[in-house]
């Protein structure tokens, strides 16, 4: 490495030696036109070995970093998801903007139950669940029992498909198991301003209040095209303007999920003597 390299600025000729030549042999430029080429110090960043080692080290560092971040934050994130799920359940009971979610949830939600094949409820003894679409697929039909100022409510988690992705919601029913007390919808990726209104629009969610779910032993509650709902019908709700596909998704979700709950919805109202709803009027107890 004793020899230095000199490059002619005029023609690009490279001369090797300890000093620049007096005259360029190619173009005849004087010595002053030559400049020394300073080799970069350190590693050759173009070599194969360097490239492979660099990539390997980078991957290992990034992997460790991600694992570290993910594992340290996991507990907090899970707690947030549980909290958010509880918040959504409370929203279906028309409790919006609750500040202390955990305490409010414990105050109002009395039990997390599973519907049995005959429509009765049995205590669910697992951990609080945050993915009700998986639970639904596995046949674990959750029903939350709530006690709001002495009145019994049942909350059913729903899940389905919107236009772009998953949609889900919670419907709170009165003790008669058919009158909608409140409803909440959310979504993963519906269009802001259109489909996303199922979550954002309180007006849309409130339009379900007082509607009936069960019609003659089947799910009667329907979301129809915006503006087409029959005002006198206890079963029809207007969809979101301009979001027909998402509204159809909501309708399909209600139908799919609540159909599975029909044995519970048309069953007797809980234990004898406890019923506060006007059962005979609302469903067909045989």
């Amino acid at each position: 490495m004793a020899t230095k390299k000199f490059k002619c600025k005029v023609c690009g000729y490279v001369h090797e030696g300890n000093e620049a030549p007096e005259k360029c042999p190619l173009c005849g430029a004087p010595k002053s036109e030559f400049e020394e080429i300073v080799e970069k110090k350190g590693l050759d960043t173009g070599s194969n070995v360097y490239t492979i080692v660099y990539a390997a080290v980078m991957v290992v560092i990034v992997a460790f970093l991600l694992v570290f971040v993910s594992s340290t934050l996991k507990a907090r994130q899970d707690a947030n998801v549980v909290n958010d799920t509880k918040k959504q359940i409370l929203t279906s009971l028309n409790m919006r903007n609750v500040s202390d979610v955990a305490a409010t949830y414990d105050k109002y939600i009395k039990a997390d139950m599973l519907m049995q094949a005959d429509g009765t409820l049995a205590e669910y003894d697992g951990e609080f669940n945050t993915s009700y679409s998986t639970e639904f697929k596995e046949g674990n039909l959750h029903v939350f029992e709530a006690d709001v100022d002495g009145q019994r409510k049942f909350i059913i988690p729903m899940n389905g498909q919107g236009l772009w992705g998953a949609i889900w919601g919670y419907v709170a029913l009165d003790a008669d198991r058919t009158t909608v007390n409140g409803i909440y919808f959310s979504h993963a990726s519906e269009t802001p301003g259109l489909g996303a209104e199922i979550k954002e629009s309180v007006k849309f969610q409130e339009s379900f209040q007082g509607k009936m779910v069960v019609d003659n032993g089947e799910v009667g509650l329907k979301v129809v095209k915006a503006g087409k709902a029959d005002k006198n019908s206890p079963f029809q709700v207007d969809g979101v303007t301009g979001a027909t596909m998402t509204s159809n998704g909501v309708d399909a979700m209600i139908n799919k999920v609540l159909s599975a709950y029909i044995p519970f919805l048309t069953g007797q109202c809980g234990k004898e003597g406890e019923c506060s709803g006007d059962c005979e009027k609302h469903h067909n107890v045989e």
Partner: protein, 206 residues
């Protein structure tokens, strides 16, 4: 030097705007601009991520093997976005729900790759940081303009608040549903480019 830094910060906001001049980040400009709020959030997140990844790449620029530089850039951006998203999920859950898909969209935002490749690979960390901030703000500015028009005429609202009074609707005014659709965003970006070019005449192609 101070002048050059100034340029790095100010150029991309107007004269060399990433969206209307470099035509980068159009896809996300269509996706998030139907309302003002997500547009602002997206604009700010991109600003922060571009600035941070610019700095990291700029620090590493002399060690990065030339042949895998795009991969290295991509890994840095993806790792950064993932970490930010994890942190948001843990400490600001509401914000992360708000951002939902957009945070993932940042990784694929062409502005990031464009600036890393064109600027951070050749310049020092501080200039790169300013360049990132400048480009992010330039991007945010276009998003806000487009989202303002789309939300105002598409839903009669701004930041979710009703601004078109009820009596307009009573007298037959209707929200323009087309404004909410993605094609309208493209048309609006086109209009912004048109205005921008007619002010900056030297940008007009012959």
């Amino acid at each position: 030097m101070a002048n050059k830094n100034n340029e790095a910060l100010k150029q991309p906001i107007w004269v060399n705007n990433p969206v209307v001049v470099q035509i980068l980040g159009i896809c996300s400009a269509l996706a998030v601009t139907s309302q003002l709020k997500p547009a602002i959030v997206m604009g700010l997140s991109v600003t922060i991520i571009v600035a941070m990844s610019n700095v990291i790449i700029s620090l590493l620029r002399n060690t990065i093997p030339n042949r895998i530089r795009i991969i290295v850039q991509l890994v840095v951006v993806a790792a950064l976005v993932t970490i930010v998203s994890e942190i948001l999920k843990a400490f600001a859950y509401d914000v992360s729900v708000q951002l939902s898909v957009y945070i993932g969209l940042i990784i694929t935002n062409c502005i990031l790759m464009g600036r890393l490749e064109a600027f951070a690979m050749q310049n020092g960390p501080w200039e790169s940081f300013l360049d990132g901030i400048g480009n992010g703000l330039g991007y945010a500015a276009i998003l806000v303009v487009v989202a303002f028009v789309r939300e105002l005429f598409g839903s009669g609202k701004l930041l979710g608040f009703q601004v078109v009074p009820q009596w307009c609707y009573d007298h037959g005014y209707l929200n323009n549903g087309f404004m909410i659709m993605a094609p309208m965003a493209l048309i609006l970006v086109g209009c912004v480019i048109w205005i921008h070019r007619s002010i900056n005449k030297d940008l007009q192609e012959k």
